[in-house]
Symmetry: C2
Amino acid sequence: MLISTKGRYALRVMIDLAEHQTDDFISLRGIAQRQEISEKYLESIIRMLVKARVLESLRGKGGGYKLKKAPEQYTVGSILRLTEESLAPVSCLEEGSDACPKAGKCRTLPLWQGLDKVINEYLEGVTIADLMEQGDVGDNYVI
Amino acid sequence: MLISTKGRYALRVMIDLAEHQTDDFISLRGIAQRQEISEKYLESIIRMLVKARVLESLRGKGGGYKLKKAPEQYTVGSILRLTEESLAPVSCLEEGSDACPKAGKCRTLPLWQGLDKVINEYLEGVTIADLMEQGDVGDNYVI
DNA sequence: TATAATCCTAGCAGGAAGGTAGGAATTGAA
DNA sequence: TTCAATTCCTACCTTCCTGCTAGGATTATA
């Protein structure tokens, strides 16, 4: 499995915020209740999004979260990359992993590179806006 | 990460057997040494391939393993499906998992179905023969 | 000052990945 | 017949990650 609950929940948070967008901040509690996810767990996920400056936050009464940009400007890939350690299909392609000494003569490396490319292109071709309403999806978002 | 060492090693076994194909059976020890993988671990992986009737085996002296079909006839996807529990990118698409009660109104399900499709199409488009010699790769096997 | 909210650190249970160990069964050859 | 080479089978172990929980510190509003 490539995508953990962290990544899936992060996307659902983004969609929820996009769908309930106003000038006000939206509280964790509201998101958690609508999405039926534990507040405490969701908290840790949302904090990643705040740290990555994808969300704006405000503490104290009336506080909460808000998207920083328009939903069209967030690709699915850019969000998943924040919560998943890596989207690489195999460990040898993970960022920060040293180049494999056998890379030159590896029979399968090109296979994994190709798979990686296909996955990334797909995930970069879909935005949060595309996910908001089924039936009004982007060109790249074809099942 | 989508693909475990089990899957990667299984592919390497298939390639090794394809490249050293004769009428004789090829021993586990030989494969393990060429691929620099622990004999004991490789043994458990190869047994999956034998059980799935992808390989033919012979016990005793002079025994070993052999491909049952030509390398062109094994897609990468068909091999990986034997060793990986599931190639689905998210748990809700795994075979045998009950349909999610929220599937009807799920904002992200089509996203995952699309990703699943892209991954499977890619992996079905490459065969063991494609992996044998770089430079002589199939049409679908483009980086 | 009370209350509502986010921030922060720590920890934990369960399962899977990756690998090891030891021996039983089978086959071919001396 | 016996020995050596080989696959088959079962059990186990360690380490890491996922998914989740707990408890409190900090900040803003009314």
